[in-house]
Symmetry: C2
Subunit: 242 residues, 2 copies
DNA sequence: CGAAGTCTTGAAGTCGGTCAAAAGGCGTGG
DNA sequence: CCACGCCTTTTGACCGACTTCAAGACTTCG
């Protein structure tokens, strides 16, 4: 039983831009259905040209690239509301793979409908480009982290980003939120070894800055953590939703 | 004396998509003029919301981010044909700074005209999004490099990317092209120290893979360099031009 | 209860950083 | 024409942040 766009739970979150009733009807036209996937399911593969595009409704996932030597680089964590498949939709080829970490519900669109956005609904096309720009912005920050931050600063940066994002999505309650990934995932996101990531998390725990255990992230002193990470604690900008 | 879009030298390069005569006329309407800047000139600042957007006509530049502690991360090198200011144009805020490395000629557009693209010329808007997607693709690769490649592989990766890009722009002749940056720039792009970058370049030179001296990059054995870097030697995809 | 996956901890090794200094190019001014 | 200062590149020695290797503890599940 697919959710109607009209009743989409995401739109109520203040992380997202408001949509006009007309826009909602327009999007509904292109929603092909919903897909529910189990943890670990591959959603899109690097190099593929999927005819389907997705928006994450529930659950979380990973974007990652595999190098020829087998190393894995996690590019970003996928939160509810994230659009999946922009590169395939625009360039015809994904630059990374995507897989579900938790059970996920995905809103499914037809790749061809993207062009309709541009032709019939410039506002929607603009929103799509906005999402691309947001992603570029984030990746620039990630590059800075990998290039210039120490392991401790890098881990702190990642946890701050995750926490602020979760907060804007209403996932946080009492300084705590679900973050159902493995330490290996974070290690692969930061270009660190699992062992060092583990020890670094231990330091943050001992310093009473952040506790991440059993899939729950608790940030005790956001400001101190952000200072260590050299980032602002401002909420992520309100973003469009597709 | 500003170049007419009609006579734009870039459009002849096979790195770029063809534009219809109509598209060219459309772009000409929004070209406010040309700006010539000297080496070292800042073009856009991180956090700024410039009313002007640019396309690089001649010359090369750098995108970079500064961390609060003074470290600099070079995000990418700017080649002729690159669009500058997409983030400001779409989100209203640049995520990085941009400066000229050589003397540059920039084609100047009004930020407000972007919206005209979406409203009147969906094809042009699509091209803009394409550029954003290409950038995202590239940054994903950069993240992988910073996270997973060794210094030697990273330097090799950067030189391969630069060389292939230059080739597609017709900048290469006899296995050689201009690459007028400092070792410090490359070091900041790869998150390495200047000293180590220098020594690593020395290794590539000794192995007869790549010689980069006095602003000239010569790649003797592209395939071997690419193998070391773990990248394909395929030309970058044909991209749109604004 | 055993197997597999994840987290944790310790010890040893290395890649790349930091420090220091010298060499080379280039423009300016005496 | 040479001397000087400034910038970039190069080289050597030492150091440390992070990796690798190894093994034990804890959880989950068949």
């Amino acid at each position: 039983m697919a959710t109607k766009c009209e009743n989409c739970p995401l739109r109520r979150r203040d992380a997202f831009e408001d949509l006009s009733a007309e826009d909602v009807r327009f999007m509904q036209r292109f929603k092909m259905g919903e897909m529910i996937v189990d943890p670990g399911t591959p959603i899109l593969m690097e190099g593929s040209n999927s005819p389907q595009l997705y928006t994450a409704l529930h659950g979380m996932g990973l974007r990652y690239k595999l190098l020829p030597n087998g190393e894995r680089q996690v590019v970003s964590f996928i939160f509810p509301g994230d659009f999946i498949g922009l590169q395939a939709g625009i360039m015809g080829e994904m630059g990374h793979s995507v897989e579900a970490t938790t059970k996920m519900t995905l809103c499914v669109f037809d790749r061809a409908s993207l062009w309709q956005f541009f032709k019939e609904r410039p506002e929607r096309a603009f929103s799509l480009t906005w999402l691309a720009a947001v992603e570029e912005h984030f990746l620039g920050e990630a590059v800075s982290t990998l290039g210039q931050r120490t392991a401790l600063q890098g881990v702190a940066w990642a946890l701050v980003r995750v926490f602020l994002r979760g907060k804007s999505l209403g996932m946080e309650r009492g300084g705590q939120m679900a973050f159902p990934f493995k330490q290996q995932d974070l290690a692969d996101a930061l270009g660190l070894s699992l062992v060092h990531t583990n020890k670094t998390l231990g330091i943050l725990r001992k310093r009473q800055l952040a506790h991440w255990t059993e899939g729950e992230l608790r940030v005790s002193d956001l400001q101190a953590l952000a200072d260590l990470a050299m980032v602002e604690t401002t909420a992520p900008p309100v973003r469009p939703i597709l």
